[in-house]
């Protein structure tokens, strides 16, 4: 008997069998399902088209209005109205309206995911919750509709690539630089159909917020899930005690991996993903001359308190370049209020930033912070596809909050260690 990966164990536990192996197809019970204003209406229609009047468990459904929030067109206002009515009619208490924040921040903040869970969300960055030791994966609206209807879905058990992150993160280098490095090494389809397990002391050393950044971008290499083993930090973040009966699911020593990717990080430089693919990653020295028009600090990737504090570490008492606009969007109301309490938002505004309400904002290119033709944006979010943040003739670079803040300060892509 050989051992199992975290993904195999979680999928087996939810399929009512002792064990499953990569490649098998299982019908599994899901612990929760999330929909948002980008995908939710189609999921609700799929549910109704399946002849179901009720979701399988209204306490395990999360509805978030975050992608175009507040609504900026009449059509998006109609979408919001339809989802509000759905939540009311279904008695869904985890309905998060305009102003609450980004779905992937709210789900863990409200304790809707825990280690060992099987979670599906109608959003590709649902893989973020792997940071809590869950198997969480993005699905389309029809799959989400089926999950809402039956509380079950079919899954192909993925192979797992073990990603060993070794060494210690240097100052000003973050988990964002690590995951961009991983994207460069694996390529945008390097982990298609596979899961990633992030291992190593560097991961253990990371805050849970940093692990969320790491897992968030697993989809950018095609992965079905990105998972960290849960530890004391995980439970502390979730304010949950480890229950002896539900010991955290970890990988067996003799688990079978597709292969192991070694990612040494002790000498890692700040990494920047260049247009128009997430794996087009360069070290900061290669891109330092590039002028930026807009800096966006936010998103489910890097919109948490530690990210805002990283930016402030660079910008405290200083002013951003006059020809740069800097948009700061905290990932949730909780993040917003804590940053406000600590004076972080005030100081970022004094440095010249615009602070907007918690939402997906510029990441999604559907509401605020769009780029004009010929403009260059630097963002802490997760995708730099052509046209992602506005005009197809604009360009988007992706970086850590440190690089974003340093670049806002100078007006061109800048090494945070030099300012």
């Amino acid at each position: 008997m050989t051992g199992h990966t975290i993904s195999e164990k979680i999928l087996a536990a939810h399929s009512g069998v002792d064990s499953v192996k990569a490649g098998e197809v299982v019908k599994a019970r899901v612990d929760a399902c999330m929909i948002n204003d980008a995908t939710g209406v189609l999921a609700v229609r799929a549910l109704k088209d399946m002849g179901k009047k009720q979701v399988w468990n209204s306490g395990r459904v999360i509805v978030v209005l975050d992608h175009v929030s507040p609504a900026c067109t009449i059509q998006s206002a109609k979408v919001h109205r339809e989802l509000r009515a759905f939540s009311r009619e279904q008695g869904i208490s985890h309905h998060f309206d305009v102003g609450e924040g980004v779905c992937h921040q709210l789900v863990p903040e409200y304790g809707m995911v825990k280690p060992g869970d099987l979670f599906v969300g109608a959003d590709s960055h649902t893989c973020t919750y792997g940071a809590f030791g869950a198997f969480a994966t993005g699905v389309g609206s029809t799959d989400a509709g089926a999950a809402l209807a039956f509380g079950k879905l079919w899954f192909k058990v993925p192979e797992t690539i073990r990603v060993d992150i070794t060494g210690t993160l240097p100052d000003f280098i973050t988990s964002k630089d690590v995951i961009l490095r991983v994207a460069k090494l694996l390529g945008v389809d390097g982990a298609t159909y596979a899961a990633l397990e992030f291992r190593g002391k560097a991961v253990t050393d990371m805050s849970v917020s940093s692990r969320m950044t790491l897992c968030n971008m697993a989809i950018e290499v095609g992965a079905k899930a990105g998972i960290c083993e849960p530890d004391e930090k995980t439970y502390e973040w979730l304010r949950e005690d480890t229950d002896e009966n539900t010991a955290p699911i970890t990988a067996d020593e003799d688990a079978i991996y597709k292969y192991t990717l070694d990612v040494p990080i002790s000498g890692l430089e700040p990494q920047v993903a260049c247009p128009h693919n997430v794996d087009n990653v360069k070290s900061i020295q290669e891109v330092e001359h590039i002028k930026v028009d807009q800096v966006f600090l936010g998103s489910c990737t890097n919109g948490r308190l530690e990210d805002l504090e990283m930016a402030l570490r660079i910008l405290k008492g200083r002013k951003i370049a006059p020809d740069v606009r800097m948009l700061v969007v905290p990932a949730s109301k909780q993040v917003y209020l804590e940053a406000e309490k600590r004076g972080v938002l005030r100081e970022l505004m004094e440095a010249g930033a615009v602070v907007s309400n918690p939402s997906c904002a510029a990441c999604f290119g559907g509401s605020i912070g769009l780029l004009a033709p010929g403009e260059v944006g630097l963002a802490t979010s997760n995708r730099n596809f052509k046209g992602r943040q506005g005009s197809p003739e604009s360009e988007v670079y992706l970086s850590s909050p440190f690089v974003a803040a340093a670049s806002a300060l100078t007006g061109h892509i800048t090494d945070p260690r030099k300012v």
Binding site: K78, V79, G138, G145, F150, V188, D189, N277, G366, K386
Partner: protein, 165 residues
Amino acid sequence: MMKISGRVWKYGDNVNTDYIIPGRYMELTDHEEMGRHAMEGIDLAFVLNVKKGDVVVGGRNFGCGSSREHAPLALKYAGVGCVVAESCARIFYRNAVNIGLPALECPRITKSVELGDDLELDLGAGTVTNMSKGTKLLFTPLPPFMMDVLEAGGLVPYLNKRNVW
């Protein structure tokens, strides 16, 4: 078994869902309207010229990026009969089958076809015939479960027919 014939629209690697339908159209809930914006992120000529049954050919990692089902829906309602790519991104692949749009993986497809070629696809036999060039390629047919979903017209009619999950 399903057979499809149509002209080729050919694209490269990593055609992401933002290219297939940009984020600003995610608010749309009407399928026909989504169809009017298909491929708008990279090819404005597509919707003006696409004909019913046409085949979208892509390189590696077709449909990568977001989970938006609007992407396969836009292609389907623009008239596309089938997507054939060297490889498909996971969520797109599943979404396409769930809404009844065949998505096939055929490793050498982009080297074998050109824009405007006439193709005939036999989903059951796993063959792509290039009528313009007189060549034939094989692909691994979809697993039986996914073929059943496709033949039912998607996951919703499939589940309705069986009334169980």
